[in-house]
Amino acid sequence: MSATPPTHPLFAARGNLRRRRRVNRVVEISSTVAALLAVAVLLIVVFSVFRKGVGALNLGFFTKSTPLFGASGGGIANAIVGTGIMVGLATLMAVPIGLLVAIYTSEFAEQRVAHVVRFALDILNGVPTIITGIFVVGLIVIPQGHGSGTAGAVALAIIMLPIVARTAQEVLALVPETLKEAAYALGVTRWRTTLRVTLPTAAGGLLTGSLLAIARVAGETAPLILTSFLFAPGVITDPSQGLASIPLFIFQSSESPSPESHTQAWAAALVLIAFVLVLNVIARAFYARSRQRLEG
């Protein structure tokens, strides 16, 4: 019994088996490193933005407007207001339409039509945002003769639409068929079932999709360069004029020769990244709660 030969197949680390174990080890290590790298990139970005930007953060930075061309001092009040107005208008346009598209594909459309719509949304989601910007230039800016907050908002809405619609589709698909059946069996019509049963059940997840879309477009720069690039002093709230925005403030300030502007660019980047991070965390929390409810 104790004389089991070491050549017995149950003894590991021989020939083929040893090689397979080595390959396994290599794959394991390299994938772990890749995962760490992804997390490290985020941490490095957040940390360096924080370190370089935090010095310029003070109350004035939030309450004062950007001074004209290269003058020092001031803040990003106009950019915050501009971004708020444009993202807000874009949300008002994209969320209702996106939800309706999702309701159509998941509740009313035939399978084949739904597939086509889903595919179209994925393509739209993949369109480079600069192209969306050019499209809006042709659609609104040229006929109007000048860029405007409205034009910027339309561009952002086009970018938001597929994100809202696709996440809403995913969430609506999670609502159990048995709940809809329960409503149909009570003699409730299809539309009322959607409105009173399906949508409330999916509400958390729908909110998540909208928040993620907002977080995504808050930092969009390219379409705004084309549609709402105007530099006026003071806070402007009229969306028919060009509006300032945080991403464009970062862009301009970092192009400026003065080191003070660079610090301000970092500070604005910090504000933007903090906003996006907070939105993402809130969105995840809603989604987790909604999933819990749906999977009961």
């Binding site: 048995t178 709940l179 069996a185 009570l186 019509t189 079932t193």
Partner: protein, 298 residues
């Protein structure tokens, strides 16, 4: 087990029936298990409405012929059980009665389903109205998770635009009929999905009863419940038989024997045999019925 108003009266006298051709309606003595259980009385012992007649009913899923020409009558004063092996078409057949079958893409049905002289497959019929007259309880309890207990019960009323005035009264009535009132009366505004599985299923029964249907279809209502929950539902069925026509699909033959007056056996989409429950389980006419009820297949 129930509120005081449900006085136990003398056991239901066997109502006089005209002899009919269909085997389902042949007069029968009350089966032993149903006796002695409290009968809910709502002022009527014999119902004239709520007769459902299937005539040459066929149902399809795409090219799959799931129900193959079923003729059957559901007597309003009886509980009818549909038994048969998995995939024999019993759920499909029942879902044809309230036209839920057609909710499934590519599904369609042919033939007649007649509720009190009206063919429900007539093109002038409003599907939504059909479902208000013929309620349904599903395999898995499916209360609406976003609604409170009382809102679940009144969902059928609220979502179909009924007046709000009697809502509370009807909710209480439905919950009492479903034997759930005493358990939930102090927490009517709590979430419906906080109840136990059996309570949730009775909540679903209350929800179906609240719109006052003439027929109640139950598609394996106890398959997701524990024995205690199952017993409560079975007691409930024998109380509700005087309020609605009950059709229950079940995998469980003991359950059919306990609750049903008439039992129908389906196999491969066809109705093999229909008869009074006792006879179906002791001395069926068809060999296949005999084999199924004695456990030789299925």
């Amino acid at each position: 087990m129930n509120p005081a108003e449900k006085v136990s009266e003398s056991p239901m006298t066997e109502p006089q029936r005209e002899p009919r051709a269909e085997p389902a309606s042949s007069p029968r003595p009350t089966i032993a298990v149903a006796e002695g259980q409290a009968k809910a009385t709502r002022g009527r012992t014999h119902r004239d409405v709520g007769t459902v007649r299937l005539e040459g009913l066929h149902a399809y899923y795409g090219s799959n012929h799931a129900v193959r020409g079923v003729d059957l009558v559901f007597d309003p004063n009886e509980v009818t059980a549909i038994i048969g092996p998995s995939g024999c078409g019993k759920s499909t057949m029942v879902r044809c009665i309230n036209r839920m079958h057609e909710e499934i893409p590519s599904a369609r049905a042919e033939g007649k389903v007649v509720l009190d002289q009206i063919d429900l497959y007539n093109s002038a019929i409003d599907v939504v109205a059909v479902r208000r007259s013929i309620g349904m309880v599903f395999q898995k309890p499916n209360p609406f998770p976003t609604m409170s207990i009382v809102d679940n019960v009144t969902a059928g009323l609220r979502l179909t635009g009924a007046p709000r005035s009697e809502m509370k009264e009807r909710a209480q009535d439905a919950l009492q009929s479903a034997g759930l009132w005493d358990e939930v009366k102090d927490r009517l505004n709590n979430a419906g999905d906080g109840l136990s599985g059996g309570q949730q299923q009775r909540l679903c029964i209350a929800r179906a009863l609240a719109v006052d249907p003439e027929v109640l279809l139950m598609d394996e209502p106890c398959s997701a419940l524990d024995p205690v929950g199952t017993l409560r539902i079975e007691e409930l069925i024998s109380q509700l038989r005087e309020r609605v026509t009950i059709v229950i699909v079940t995998h469980n033959m003991q359950q059919a024997a306990r609750v049903a007056d008439t039992t129908a056996f389906m196999l491969n989409g066809e109705m093999v045999e229909v008869g009074q429950t006792e006879k179906m389980f002791t001395n069926p006419d068809d060999d296949r019925t005999e084999q199924y009820v004695t456990g030789k297949f299925g």
